[in-house]
Symmetry: C2
Subunit: 511 residues, 2 copies
Amino acid sequence: MDFKVKVVNFEHPKRIAILNKNDAINIGVGTEQRITVGHNSINITAFAYLSDIVGNGEIWINQRLSNDSGIEIGENVSVFSAPQPQSIEYIKKKMYGNKLTKEEIDAIVNDIVMENLNDIELSGYVSSIQTIGLDNEEITNMVNAMVNTGETIKFDHDVYDVHSIGGIPGNKYALLTVPIVASSGLKIPKTSSRAISSPAGTADVMEVLARVDLKANEIKRIVEEVGGTLTWGGAMNLAPADDKIIRIEHPLGIDPFPQVIASVLAKKKATGINYLLIDIPMGSETKVQDEEMARDLAGRFIEIGNRLKIHVECAITYGGQPLGRAVGPALEAMEAMKALEGTPTSNSMIVKAIELASMIIEMGGVAEFNRGKDLARHILTSGKAREKFLEIINAQGSKGIEKSDEIPLGEYQHDLTSTMDGYISYISNRSIVLLARSLGAPQDKGAGIWVYKKIGDKVERNETVLKLYAEKKDKLENTVRLSRKLRIFDVEGMVLESIGKKTKKVIRDES
Amino acid sequence: MDFKVKVVNFEHPKRIAILNKNDAINIGVGTEQRITVGHNSINITAFAYLSDIVGNGEIWINQRLSNDSGIEIGENVSVFSAPQPQSIEYIKKKMYGNKLTKEEIDAIVNDIVMENLNDIELSGYVSSIQTIGLDNEEITNMVNAMVNTGETIKFDHDVYDVHSIGGIPGNKYALLTVPIVASSGLKIPKTSSRAISSPAGTADVMEVLARVDLKANEIKRIVEEVGGTLTWGGAMNLAPADDKIIRIEHPLGIDPFPQVIASVLAKKKATGINYLLIDIPMGSETKVQDEEMARDLAGRFIEIGNRLKIHVECAITYGGQPLGRAVGPALEAMEAMKALEGTPTSNSMIVKAIELASMIIEMGGVAEFNRGKDLARHILTSGKAREKFLEIINAQGSKGIEKSDEIPLGEYQHDLTSTMDGYISYISNRSIVLLARSLGAPQDKGAGIWVYKKIGDKVERNETVLKLYAEKKDKLENTVRLSRKLRIFDVEGMVLESIGKKTKKVIRDES
């Protein structure tokens, strides 16, 4: 049956078409059922809704369907009930605990990218990856399928990268590591994500200082010119299945390891990376709770990397509290710049950035085994890393900020203080994340938290432990209210042997 | 923020509200996000869509949201971003392989019934029930939660029921079993479902002859008057979580056993049943493939029945081919009536109906152990069962059909014949289901299949094996085309020792 098109601005994660109910009955299509919309030689899958706001013989399509198909207002289209995609059988096969073949994985990824699956089916896939899992061969096939359905970048020399699997707030080390590595002479086109559930992804932090939405050709050019980039992977169409899977993982709050591995390696393979360092933060409130889990994950990354011809090394890092002292885009950018400028700042961030840089430098053979650290530290302290960082910023498109003290922070501020004398014995990553997001991060760049006292630090009664920053007054007020309901940090008394008082061993880390 | 309501006929499985994009941004609500719509003392959850077809300050709600909330056109409502339901955490807990507490299961079922969960979350639940499972205690809690969130019927005497877990086409035994049991003096208010993926549920078959959409008070009255009913459970609000779960299982094509058990027992407990016979058809193309699976399932039904104070017995029945010869509402009603009238017809249907009736009769103490079969057969052959069946039909509201030959069948017919002399060695349940649905069953009551030859029957070249019936010519034509692509039945040659010819042992059953 033929319909006259009207394009409506109806926001929906899928391509949708709204039909009059009588028309829909005539062509045998029900609510949310899959249809094939045909126009000239194009046939595209969409999902149907039925409403009497649409006239007989009319079809309202959303912008997304119009963009993906090129079908425009006033045109005539044919509409049919679409057959069920084959990949649903394969999702079911996985649910029943079976291993999937390369062809089956290709079909699933293709249907995900083509948006042929509804949310029920997509969630069935993601849930079964969580509960049943994928073995290393399946993950390898998944990576290849994800790479093959998107854009790729090719370099004619070795390229290096570092990627953190996340879960620790304030993880801005890359703003130091990338310029150190680039200064050493290696090529490091780092792409990263924006925050999904965290207060700031590396791309959100970098965006305070420079454009991050660079395309493949710009990245290639800048890498040749200055040796490194710090951009947002989402500006390209690298492994597009990934974002569509993340949309489903998010409401469920799950992040299945097989999908984490596939997602990271697919993005990296699509970017042409052949030497990759994976940072695995470990701690009770991160994605990886103990060393066994961390070693297992590292082993899988390395093995699958091998199959994909990517040399992978892994660093298991401390994730028991925020990295450094800044959480939130502007604060993190400021903290990183301070370190590059040589201003005394958070030791934990500098140590991690140098350690990771040295591993890459040694991977690339620029320094011998165990010598990378000296070289990396020298590049940082000599000011060369800062110089390189400014080159990168300028090449990407600077926002005009050249120094750490020029970065604007949220003007509404509030201090969370200690109610007693003692030592900080615990800081909750989870609460820090909740507070920072409630303050407006990552959308409000100036929103975030400065952690004045870290685990092991001495604190006095009424002394500031955390400072909250917000760009909007109501967000600060809401967050202050929220802070009263959360366990954010613990202070333990100094008198360790006082009777009847709960005490804990005080743990120090390099903060 | 306050909005002026317009009610639109927008078909959607959820309660939805469409807002102007700018308004949505102002209240911090995104596409498909959960919102709370408030009006006077009512606060109800719905899902938001964003569109510029809706004016600023306006909210378009679908009929469903209007019905559930009582909110009407022209009224003012407040809209807030709704918090995430707690039950999502419990779904995630199940995904991670943990056992759920009673309170957690209550929360999940409540959010399912209240429609607080989106499809991603619901599918996460259903998928994890498939992959991780529920133990008997969890299923018991699930049943109680499902019963407590819906309507219930209470009888002041024992009531009996029989339920088939399905998977075999033509399974119309209940039209014989129920009147036999009712004639024996036991009370049997059988409720059943309409077809979900089969060509005819018992309710679809019964609807050829009588009204089936009876309410609780009508069922109670008729059971007292005539001893039995054959109605559609969906006309009442019994265990409403069930239908909402089925909506999710359907696209995935899964039917997890824990959910099957919970669903059956919840509907039966809500109907007040305390003696229940479960029919478990077993065969390579049914839900239960082998005896181990069947015995395991039976054991769980009995154990959970015990916990719920329902005496459960199970019959594992032959499911290797359709039951009897008729598939599709009108044909099945005709076949059942023929047996009640004493006209020679399918033996397999009569044997099954009598066996199941005898088990219930013995459960109720009307006949001693091993004597129920004689009584059941006598009730059937004496014409008492037919009399009782007509009483039930009249009590429910007859459609005016009193004899099997008055039932209208689809006027478009086509014969599928054998291409060789031999014996039928295989009939595909799955293909029979596909063909019957393609012919129009269960919506078109007269559509269906008559199985002339069953496994073990002798067949000659060009002799009819199946007759297809349709109410619509194009459906018959499409189905004939479809039949050429399917493996529907196998005919094996008669010469068992011919060299170089593939032969198979011919299996006979009482067809």
